[in-house]
């Protein structure tokens, strides 16, 4: 699989490979984290979330890892498909107000 460094704005992945998208967050008090996928011309689509009392959560073909020590979040996509091409955003929230702070986003392009 391919991975980015701490954060890069683009990621090119071969179809069938695994993707890893990274995100650094700044608020140590954040206790809820979400990954969104945004395709061109559409609003963000919820992928997976994780609370600060967990360090890993799995969904369908996706896994989110949370490292609170270094304030780092990652999204792993297994067997990347052309339909996974999109911009991926991490978002964080502190407390119960549900207000989200979004990261800068990573554009994922899947090569056939």
């Amino acid at each position: 699989g391919e991975s980015v460094g701490l954060h890069l704005p683009t990621l090119s992945v071969q179809e069938g490979d695994n993707s890893i998208i990274n995100c650094a967050y700044s608020n140590s008090a954040s206790d809820y984290f979400i990954w969104y996928k945004q395709e061109s011309g559409k609003g963000p689509q919820f992928i997976i979330d994780i609370r600060s009392n967990m360090d890993k959560r799995q969904g369908q073909r996706v896994t989110v890892l949370l490292n609170k020590t270094v304030k780092h979040l990652s999204l792993q996509i297994a067997a990347t498909q052309p339909g996974d091409s999109a911009v991926y955003f991490c978002a964080e929230n502190e407390g119960s107000d549900y207000k989200l702070s979004f990261g800068a986003g990573t554009t994922v392009t899947v090569r056939a």
């Binding site: 609003g43 955003f89 702070s101 979004f102 800068a104 986003g105």
Partner: protein
């Protein structure tokens, strides 16, 4: 999940005019939000639309520029007032889901605004 629609989907406006964007949710939701996404950028929260009371604005956003209404639990509007080219952005509304997805925030498709 909640299905959210927005009107208009896009518009081109002259500077100095105002545009009202509508957001409709297919079910009653507790919380609704408005975000701005400038071209090629991430999303920034404008305000929380409160039902029956004034919206709560984030730093850098004021009611005179972005008045918001929320008359009921399924509908909200955002007005972009006295527009300038710097207001050219995508404006998105979102809503908090219902159980068991009550932590999930669902987004509308966005309104793409261009100010000339």
């Amino acid at each position: 999940s909640a299905v959210i629609s927005q009107k208009p989907s896009r518009d081109i406006c002259q500077r100095g005019t105002s545009l009202t964007i509508q957001c409709q949710v297919d079910s009653q939701v507790t919380m609704m939000f408005w975000y701005r996404q400038q071209p090629g950028q991430s999303l920034t929260l404008i305000a929380t639309a409160n039902q029956g009371s004034e919206a709560t604005y984030e730093s850098g956003f004021v009611i005179d520029k972005f008045p918001i209404s929320r008359p009921n639990l399924t509908f909200s509007t955002l007005t972009v007032s006295n527009m300038s080219p710097e207001d050219s952005s995508i404006y998105l509304c979102s809503a908090l889901g219902k159980a068991p997805s009550y932590n999930e925030q669902f987004f509308g498709p966005g309104t793409r605004l261009t100010v000339l």
